[in-house]
């Protein structure tokens, strides 16, 4: 039988497998476009029931970068930081920026363009005693890896979702490894915020970045919700209670309402534009309200 994931070869999967088969990868959680892509394939292969039936999912594409969230323990235990850095070094990645962006040539013999690994982190709590300058987490003590400080990733450690990545690594060897992706509650926080930043920039209320903020995050919000399972929906209820008063969660609930509450809301218009099909707004929005505690 031809499965969805085996029909076409994916260029990023071998590089992911190179990383996640290493012990040091236990400190890393996959997020970003390829995280969504991997979860989609995993659910499709296992025919798991989701909010929107699988036949209706729009395809999710990913550019050539791998986004990993580092566990806070990486910044507490130096050995773990060394493990992550050594893992990347052994695979040929070099520091491209600030010990939190690593890269290597995408094509043999040409330095640019690069295959990029981005390291991200939630903000440390006061009791964790991890240093952050607001841009990077884990600074000081000469740590070989930092995480891009992400205030909206506050819930990312909670109830991560295991998925299986399998295929051939870059050496052509069959690999099967468990990869953690964020719980949809945590993922939605990050994606709603990113989508809202795009909207604010578009409306002229936020400084324009050299690299424009992307409307792709609106589509990702819809996809995260479309692929939610019943277990995840129940888990979201617990996280809603746990983080209900978190200042970022409060703001993000408002941002979600601005972007997606109506079929004519700016974020939903982007979802329609990018998905190339009519998604059920009522099904998606009602799940967003439940998942974020609106």
């Amino acid at each position: 039988m031809i499965t969805e994931s085996s029909f076409l070869v994916d260029p990023l999967l071998p590089h992911l497998l190179d990383i996640v088969e290493q012990p040091g990868a236990a400190n890393m959680m996959l997020t970003g476009g390829f995280g969504l892509n991997l979860k989609r394939h995993f659910l499709a292969e296992n025919q798991v029931e989701t909010v929107v039936p699988r036949s209706e999912w729009p395809s999710v594409r990913a550019t050539q970068d791998l986004d990993f969230i580092l566990k806070m323990s990486v910044f507490i235990d130096r050995q773990r930081a060394d493990d992550v850095a050594n893992l990347l070094k052994a695979l040929g990645y070099q520091v491209d920026w600030g010990n939190l962006q690593f890269g290597k040539p995408l094509y043999d013999g040409i330095e640019e363009p690069r295959l990029v690994v981005d390291l991200i982190s939630r903000m440390p709590t006061a009791t964790e005693k991890v240093k952050s300058d607001g841009t990077r987490v884990g600074i000081g003590k000469g740590s070989p890896v930092h995480g891009r400080a992400t205030v909206e990733a506050f819930a990312v450690d909670r109830i991560p979702i295991p998925v299986i990545a399998k295929g051939r690594n870059t050496a052509g060897r069959e690999v099967q490894a468990e990869v953690l992706v964020p719980h949809p509650y945590a993922w939605l926080q990050m994606k709603v915020r990113a989508a809202h930043d795009w909207y604010e920039e578009r409306e002229g209320r936020m400084a324009i970045m050299k690299k424009h903020r992307s409307p792709k995050h609106c589509f990702d919000v819809a996809l995260i919700v479309a692929m939610m399972t019943l277990d995840e929906l129940q888990g979201a209820s617990l996280l809603v209670q746990e983080f209900h008063e978190h200042p970022e969660a409060v703001k993000i609930r408002t941002e979600a309402e601005v972007l997606f509450s109506l079929p004519t809301s700016p974020g939903w218009i982007e979802v329609r534009r990018q998905s190339g099909r009519e998604l059920d707004h009522n099904a998606i929005w009602s799940t967003v309200t439940r998942s974020l505690g609106l």
């Binding site: 260029p11 999967l13 892509n37 395809s59 050539q64 363009p113 992307s214 589509f219």
Partner: protein
């Protein structure tokens, strides 16, 4: 509109460029200069400046630069500023003029004047005149094959060599031994237009690319996806079986197929997550006979798009796994796609800009 008509307008003072006032002094009293069409006085408050003007009706970049050079050479010895005058100047043209350190006005109220004493910029007034004989668009349709050739090789000894290169890279034409769509006249018009846009220069018979960025911008801006009939569905064949059937049919000499740019993006390691194998085929009925499929959107894994013109087959790359679009076609489809596609297009754009060769895997 003719040049003498414009001069007539200037004489009558039917020419506005607020807040400045304009008055023609003609002919120049103290020169036998034959380049200028007169001296124009520009008054702004207490300031008065004199310009040697040249009226022109063709505002292609090359014509503008040439006219500007001649006018500057004539105006400098007279201690006058040079100024070009056209029926209409778009903002893009005004920027080009400014880039070249020239002044220009049009008859619609647009213009740029930059001297040590005044600085005026006005744009956005609509075109009230139609341009004469616009050059052929070298970035669209079959003509764009020649522009694409210049991304693969930046210099050709002659127009004939360029055309032969284009044909050699386009399997449809090579196989049929004819050149439908890639005629020498088409090549000539495309190169003329590229020369007008200052993208290539002709040095005797040689054609040489001089502005790759503008060429890439033009191709991207004027790209139009094929609009032929298409079928989306699900097949139980493996990709290997699909390609084996298509390649066998291609060997008959009257059929061609290639993966679309989007479906080729993974083979160039630019994009992940494309789950539908989308193919351009020259004959949809034959392709459908070769690849049995259940039509419909749900769980679709194959799409067939009929395209008979040579453009999408240009520079197709064959590997053991299939036939993939040129990196140029791949870049154009991504650059005109959704947000993630556009991000991925940057990978191929950097490769095309650098001139490095990449091969599909």
């Amino acid at each position: 509109m003719r040049e003498d008509e414009i001069i007539g307008w200037l004489r009558k003072g039917e020419f506005a460029f607020a807040p400045a006032e304009l008055r023609l002094v003609s002919p120049p009293a103290d020169t036998d200069n034959r380049v200028g069409d007169g001296i124009l006085e520009l008054k702004w408050g207490e300031r008065s400046l004199l310009f040697l003007i040249q009226v022109k009706t063709v505002a292609t970049p090359r014509a503008m630069v040439e006219a500007g050079k001649q006018l500057k050479a004539a105006s400098d010895p007279l201690g006058l500023q040079p100024m070009l005058i056209y029926p209409y100047l778009s903002e893009e043209r005004l920027l080009k003029i400014e880039e070249n350190g020239l002044n220009a006005l049009d008859m619609c109220g647009n213009g740029t004047v930059r001297t040590s004493e005044v600085s005026i910029w006005r744009s956005g007034q609509p075109n009230q005149f139609k341009e004469r004989a616009k050059p052929r668009n070298p970035y669209r349709g079959d003509s764009s094959v020649f522009a694409r050739c210049l991304l693969l090789r930046e210099q050709f000894e002659s127009l004939t060599e360029l055309r032969e290169f284009a044909i050699s890279k386009t399997p449809l034409n090579r196989r049929e031994g004819e050149s439908e769509g890639l005629a020498l006249a088409t090549a000539s018009r495309a190169v003329d237009a590229l020369e007008e846009f200052l993208v290539v220069v002709r040095e005797q018979r040689k054609i040489r690319l001089i502005d790759k960025s503008t060429l890439l911008d033009g191709l991207k801006k004027d790209y139009r996806p094929p609009e032929g009939n298409r079928i989306l569905g699900r097949t139980s064949l493996t990709p290997q079986e699909i390609w084996a059937r298509l390649e066998a049919e291609g060997a008959t000499g009257s059929f061609a197929s290639v993966a679309t740019g989007l479906s080729s993006a993974a083979s160039y390691r630019a994009l992940s997550g494309v789950t539908v194998l989308s193919l351009y085929v020259t004959d949809l009925v034959r392709a459908k006979d070769l690849i049995p499929l259940d039509e419909g959107r749900a769980f679709a894994n194959i799409e067939l798009i009929e395209e008979r013109r040579p453009l999408v087959y240009f520079d197709a790359r064959k590997t053991a796994d299939g036939i993939w679009s040129s990196p140029i076609q791949c870049w154009l489809e991504l650059a005109n796609g959704g947000p993630r596609d556009q991000e991925a297009s940057q990978i191929l754009l950097s490769v095309l800009k650098s001139g490095n060769a990449v091969s599909p895997q």
